[in-house]
């Protein structure tokens, strides 16, 4: 029978919370980076592109480990934060950071495709009509990036929902606090019995992912139709 424990509901809530937060936080940065890569010319652009795409090719546990080195109590950045009284490891914030890092390349990729589809003529027109680069960015590029933004956000959101490797290392498995759906299922998977509960949670996970991916496909089609 389909059954969910109270901690499972927590897991669903936390998964949604982390994914939404990670996506929203990444949007401005993703937009800025996509803009730079698409429109700006500068030395070291290729390096930026490689760095942005790096999390896509690294195993998530490697990303998690590096984040731990960076943000842990004795870490490079972490020790400073610790003195300011801010702790990140084993908190929901760490789960958000892990999802944000892992999903960032997907967001930028979609945004880039959207921006590259903008007719350069429109940008030229905007400039000759007196708009400075930031004006053009806000009044022409941003509105026309809409579909790219939505496609990228939904893809990133879907990826965040499934984030495990980096999350378990930096956020840990704390039921009710950081235990997202993948972590909950992992815990179930080590334990005999509990098969029905694990399966129920898996089904919920699949359902959420499918809804999000449908949205993504619809957005992508809208982008393609525009051309």
């Amino acid at each position: 029978m389909f059954s969910l424990a109270p901690t499972d509901y927590d897991a669903i809530r936390l998964s949604l919370q982390v994914s939404i937060t990670a996506t929203l936080l990444s949007l401005p940065f993703g937009f800025a980076v996509a803009y730079l890569i698409t429109f700006a010319k500068f030395r070291g652009k290729m390096l930026l592109e490689v760095l942005v795409n790096l999390p896509l090719t690294l195993p998530p546990v490697v990303i998690g480990y590096f984040l731990l080195l960076l943000l842990g109590k004795h870490g490079w950045l972490g020790s400073l934060l610790n003195e300011a009284g801010i702790r990140l490891i084993f908190t929901l914030k760490a789960a958000v950071i892990a999802s944000a890092v892992v999903g960032f390349p997907l967001l930028v990729r979609s945004l880039r495709i959207g921006m590259e589809g903008i007719d350069p003529l429109l940008i030229n027109a905007s400039r000759t009509l007196g708009a400075r680069w930031h004006d053009t960015l806000l009044t022409v590029i941003l509105p026309l990036s809409g579909p790219g933004l939505l496609a990228g956000s939904s893809l990133m959101f879907a990826r965040s929902l499934g984030e495990f490797g980096a999350t378990i290392i930096v956020a840990g498995n704390i039921p009710g606090v950081t235990q997202t759906i993948p972590l909950a299922i992992y815990e179930y998977s080590s334990s005999p019995a509990n098969e029905m509960m694990a399966l129920s949670l898996c089904l919920v996970s699949v359902a959420i992912s499918m809804i999000v991916l449908f949205l993504h496909e619809m957005m992508s089609k809208k982008m393609a139709r525009r051309d």
Partner: protein
């Protein structure tokens, strides 16, 4: 051409499916806390029994039980609590040779000064325990917290580890305030220190049952090793690492 492909496919399938049992292989599924003990004991046994090769799988007893249930090769199973041994017994995956291997106690380890008693735990922010769904150490802790009436209050502070060693690692790294581990694990720690012992009244005695699996019973090397573990040579090693024999 078609027959060639069929032949190649058949050979490939046979290669993949065949799990040859070579003489002298012994598969061990052992609770994580017994890692050092079993490493030493298996090494000494191998010295006097050349030709025997050990494949060791250390982990949470519940996880190990599930693996054995799902067909993972295993000749000898040592669990950190009775529950998981009974689980396999009920599934008829271990034979009737169940004996008790050793005993242990539960302690709380962490950086010095963090806590000195169970009550102090309420002041802490993050406490690591093995996941009670599959780690006996975690199950004992849950039992103790419930008996002490503290389980609800500590609910959101517990970081779940996949086995007791991961628990210890969290404590060592300092990302948690402390961890519930076995005394024997704490003795191996470098940074974390034993802050207090969990009162025995709060939890069932930590007992390590061990048995030959149904497959293991047919493996004479496994049976010999099983006997060795119950013999006089094993006891000093256990004591050395802080395990109790009674």
């Amino acid at each position: 051409m078609n027959t060639m492909i069929t032949k190649a496919a058949t050979v490939l399938c046979l290669l993949l499916l065949a799990t040859p049992v070579f003489a002298g292989e012994v598969n061990l599924s052992v609770a994580a806390s017994l890692k050092e003990v079993l490493n030493e004991l298996s090494d000494s046994f191998a010295k006097t029994h050349p030709g025997v090769k050990f494949f060791k799988n250390y982990g949470a007893s519940g996880a190990l039980a599930k693996q054995i249930e799902n067909g993972a090769p295993s000749d000898v199973f040592i669990s950190a609590n009775l529950e998981w041994m009974d689980y396999l017994k009920n599934k008829k995956l271990v034979d009737s040779s169940i004996v008790t291997f050793t005993f242990n106690t539960l302690v709380f380890a962490g950086a010095p000064g963090k806590a000195s008693s169970m009550q102090d735990l309420l002041k802490l922010e993050r406490i690591a325990i093995g996941s009670p769904k599959s780690v006996p150490a975690g199950e004992y802790v849950t039992e103790a917290l419930k008996k002490a009436g503290m389980d609800k209050q500590l609910e959101k502070k517990l970081v779940m580890a996949k086995d007791v060693r991961e628990c210890l690692m969290y404590a060592e790294r300092g990302e948690v305030d402390g961890a519930f581990v076995y005394k024997t694990d704490a003795l191996l720690a470098k940074q974390a220190k034993i802050l207090f012992s969990v009162p025995q009244a709060l939890y069932s005695k930590v007992t390590y049952p061990m048995a030959l699996t149904v497959a293991g019973a047919k493996n004479k090397d496994a049976a010999a090793f099983f006997a060795y573990l119950q013999g006089e040579e094993a006891k000093p090693v256990l004591l050395k690492y802080g395990f109790a024999t009674r």
